[in-house]
């Protein structure tokens, strides 16, 4: 399975992209308060810089993000933030956002992930992604790559680790770390169960017609008596539970 499509949905990819989104939302709303599209998007390395930690979002910037995204009629994100905005954490929004490509398609300063070329992804079931992680190597990294062409016994441990980090973003140990996404999933599930329950209750009051007269207790008693008179299922079923001599249930 190629890296490109499934990556959009994996947790790691979402987290990486979510970090991009959050960075770029803050970048875009602070630089372009009137939401005009810029001439050109910022270079890729900028997008990857400030590893903005997840919990430094202040409420006002989340509000700005909401305004800027919902103003473009991104129905899914609009619904999400409108309904669940203050309840959802940043992680929740990322979990519900599928890909920053969608967000990027309205031309403010958000970069497009080019999905026509091989993409990198961290997936535990794909040990070798479609391309190496770092496409722009610094001078030291380039010289290291040259050294790699020689015998590997001459590489120190730090160099080997550096080479790994050039080719891959996270180690398997880092990928497998539990991230608590299940809590968001369960919470979302229960939330929608709740909404469904409310709808069902409302429906029971305002939609259903009157119950038929045959559900009344007196009618049901007469119906049961008639079934016993007819000896319905006398071997193992209904009438077998009735004691005909003592006129009572066994």
């Amino acid at each position: 399975m190629p890296c490109c499509f499934p990556c959009a949905g994996t947790r790691q990819e979402q987290r990486a992209k979510g970090r991009q989104i959050s960075t770029l939302i803050q970048v875009s709303t602070s630089q372009h308060p009137d939401n005009r599209p810029t001439a050109k998007p910022p270079p890729r390395s900028e997008a990857y810089h400030a590893d903005v930690p997840l919990n430094t979002t202040t409420q006002p910037s989340l509000g700005r993000a909401r305004a800027s995204t919902s103003g473009h009629g991104r129905t899914m994100l609009h619904l999400t933030t409108g309904r669940l905005g203050s309840l959802l954490t940043r992680r929740g929004i990322m979990a519900l956002t599928t890909s920053n490509v969608r967000m990027a398609s309205h031309g403010h300063a958000v970069e497009q992930a080019d999905m026509s070329v091989p993409m990198y992804c961290d997936r535990i079931d794909t040990p070798l992604p479609d391309r190496i992680y770092k496409d722009e190597l610094s001078a030291t990294e380039k010289s290291l790559k040259q050294k790699e062409k020689g015998p590997w016994a001459q590489l120190t441990d730090e160099e080997k680790l550096a080479l790994y980090r050039i080719s891959f973003k996270s180690t398997y140990a880092e990928m497998k770390q539990p991230d608590g996404e299940w809590k968001t999933v369960v919470a979302g599930m229960l939330f929608f169960f709740g909404i469904t329950g409310l709808i069902v209750i409302w429906q029971g009051i305002y939609v259903y017609p009157e119950t038929p007269h045959t559900f009344a207790p007196e009618w049901k008693a007469k119906q049961a008596q008639r079934m016993l008179d007819m000896r319905v299922n006398p071997v193992e079923g209904f009438a077998s539970q009735w004691d005909y001599e003592k006129k009572q249930w066994k």
Binding site: R226, D229, M230, R231, P234, V235, E236, Y244
Partner: protein, 69 residues
């Protein structure tokens, strides 16, 4: 990775057969045998005319009414 299906089958097929046979045997001896016995016991002491008259007196038939009417 060669012969993976064969390897898995060698492991899972005997288990599948054994499990099916066990389930079938369990069903036979917990459900069908007691049911057959219940029917046999019911009909051992069954008096059809007595039951018919009891039903007739209860008034459920349309072709023969209770003795009172």
């Amino acid at each position: 990775m060669r012969g993976l299906l064969a390897k898995k089958l060698k492991f899972h097929l005997p288990i599948a057969f054994a499990l099916s046979i066990v389930v079938a045997a369990a069903f036979k001896y917990t459900v069908t045998e007691p049911r057959k016995q219940a029917y046999a016991d019911f009909y051992k002491q069954y008096d059809a005319m007595k039951e018919f008259n009891a039903m007739k007196e209860a008034g459920i038939f349309e072709s023969v009414r209770p003795s009172g009417e």
